[in-house]
Symmetry: C2
Subunit: 391 residues, 2 copies
């Protein structure tokens, strides 16, 4: 048969240029950053349409500046429409939100050289990003992450996604936005509880990549608990840098391999969010997921007891819970439901199971087997610890 | 303000390896091609799941061999399920088909290292390809284009898509499949009318890129009209090569620029398909679209009358219609509705209008203005020509 075969093989190399900016007060009239990005390197010979989606959680004092900013921009740049959308994970379950964005793109004649801007938390960025990546096979897109979590992690990557039948990010694409603008002004309106949601991803990336950053977080724990502007800005910025650096230099930006060190602590976190009907936010879920995998790392001999305790202490100092009642719920056969998260994690990435643990602060380690009974032991140890703390 | 800005910029370079194979009898037990692709370079340590979708138009004699092929394959490769789907443009309008594929992926636990195989015409490949590109942010995908049109053009690219509110390919992504296998056996069951649907895209790509191929088609017109196996196989193969070569070497595989020479003749073709409720197939629509833009090229002084006539003659010799009654339908203001296709074409690609014409056989030319009255004159000239031919 082989004599009948022939083949044309080629490598497609697709370069994406992605820029992540840190600024303050992006929509102040004098702030030229967004105008320069929208205008691009070319001249102003063509009209640039912008369709904006803004999270309901963003204060109107911020949102009101957006149309004013475009009014004073070059005449070549037009804000076609600005729509508010609810924030939070629920919109990722709602097919109607996606359809509504597609309808807007169609009605306003948004083309592949127009821009969709999203200002909001991770969930809104995920949905709008998915719409922008699929309408007309990809519109130009600029993200303004509005939470500490989104600025430090969720909003500064190349992924988007929506849920399907309750499975988180079951649908999505890898599509780098043209630009990501982290406006520190957006953090000023957040409560300390909301700020804290960004701290667990920072601790995560410090644990796998940057011991110095971990020690900085330890030293600044009081300032972070107080919501100190400078401390929060530094944490967000360094967290974003480490996440971006991984995406850009790991050699696998679109995750074709099975190893996902940035998902350290996430197999349990994703499952806990689902088990709790998303009443546990991602930041807390990641803290709990980290605690489980840190104790598991110690129980399996990878991590010293002192280092394990040091990490748990930092999570506690930053007022994170380390466990949750849903972690003890079992299915009909008596198996802990959280363990389903391992299968779902393997299935989403594909291939064999690969879970990142650590063998020291700043040093990641991949394992391919997670012993169920040891995971349960880790969870129960944290539950006992919680009881002690409460009593 | 600028002192407050800082920036992290990086280039993501994402390499895709895409392979296009030509074979005959891909599911014969002895044909090792697909087995080798599925097994990949690695060993057989892991189980490889395959989920297959097959166009209802494929004869059961062909389809029945698919499960047999997997039965005799290595034990590491498992055909999880094979589902039939209707072929034709209608499935691209049906959200339920997409949802059904997502449900299958979820139910069968298809992961990012599993494969989705699609065997069918361009419409089925587009829908299954879109599902494969978005489920779990992208599953591995292998296409078996089953028509002359799909093997020579629609199936051998990097795009997928579905329609939204009647707009063709309003949703989609650029995502190269792992492999495309053109099985010439699939062409044997096609009628001559079905085969002919592949000829117009071959003529199109010859007109913009390869005069020698155009002359070959002229010489082989009788054999092509008779559905001669060797002639059809050569036409399909050369057409596929020219399309792939453009994608791989144009420097813009994901169409971020506005110039799309492979869409020569397509602005009118897409609109005619829509105006006729897709009763005009893509192959005929492209022939008519080419005829319009060829006459337009002559009327605007780019093409000699002799060359124009030579191209129209070839289309007629291959029994293509050169016009359609829907091309004369007008809106309330008296404007020909087909002209809306120019706006929609510009909007889909974005930026300024760019339409490819030719100034000789094998030589493309981009223009940025299409004079409406001259387009109408071209259409009316072809309408008169048709009347003459019929009388």
């Amino acid at each position: 048969m082989n004599s009948e075969h022939s083949e044309i093989a080629f490598e497609l190399v697709v370069p994406y240029r992605m820029q992540v900016y840190f600024t303050r007060h992006a929509f102040a009239a004098k702030n030229t950053l967004l105008r320069k990005i929208l205008a691009g390197p070319g001249d102003f010979s063509r009209r640039i349409k912008v369709l904006a989606y803004v999270d309901d959680n963003i204060p109107s004092t911020y949102v009101d500046r957006v149309p004013l900013y475009f009014d004073t921009a070059s005449t070549g740049i037009v804000l076609t429409a600005l729509h508010r959308l609810p924030g939070g994970e629920a919109i990722k379950n709602d097919q109607a939100v996606l359809t509504r964005i597609y309808n807007d793109v169609e009605r306003h004649g948004i083309c592949r050289h127009s821009y969709i801007i999203a200002i909001g938390g991770g969930a809104l960025l995920d949905v709008v990003g998915y719409a922008a990546a699929t309408a007309h096979r990809g519109l130009r897109h600029i993200r303004f992450p509005s939470t500490a979590l989104a600025q430090g992690d969720a909003g500064v990557g190349v992924k988007n996604g929506i849920n399907f039948r309750g499975k988180k990010n079951f649908l999505g694409t890898f599509k780098p936005p043209e630009a990501i603008i982290n406006d520190f002004l957006l953090l000023s309106s957040l409560s300390r509880v909301e700020l804290r949601n960004g701290y667990s991803e920072a601790i995560k990336v410090a644990l796998i990549k940057d011991r110095t950053f971990f020690e900085w977080i330890e030293q600044k724990a009081d300032a972070l608990n107080a919501g100190d502007d400078d401390a929060v800005a530094h944490l967000v910025r360094r967290s974003a840098e480490l996440h971006i650096d991984h995406i850009a230099t790991s050699g696998d930006p679109f995750e074709s391999g099975a190893s996902r060190p940035l998902d350290f602590g996430h197999w349990a976190a994703h499952k806990l969010e689902q088990l709790s009907d998303f009443s546990v936010g991602h930041g807390e879920a990641v803290a709990i997921g980290l605690a489980i995998d840190i104790v598991y790392s110690r129980l399996t001999g990878h991590l010293t007891a002192a280092t394990c305790e040091r990490v748990l202490k930092l999570l506690e100092t930053l007022q994170f819970p380390l466990t949750h009642e849903k972690l003890t719920s079992s299915d009909a056969s008596g198996k802990r439901r959280v363990l389903e998260g391992l299968d779902e994690f393997r299935e989403h990435l594909g291939g064999e199971l690969t879970v990142t643990l650590i063998d020291n602060i700043g040093s990641a380690l991949d394992v391919h087997i997670m012993a169920h009974e040891t995971v349960v032991a880790a969870i129960d140890e944290l539950l006992g610890r919680k009881r002690r703390t409460v009593v």
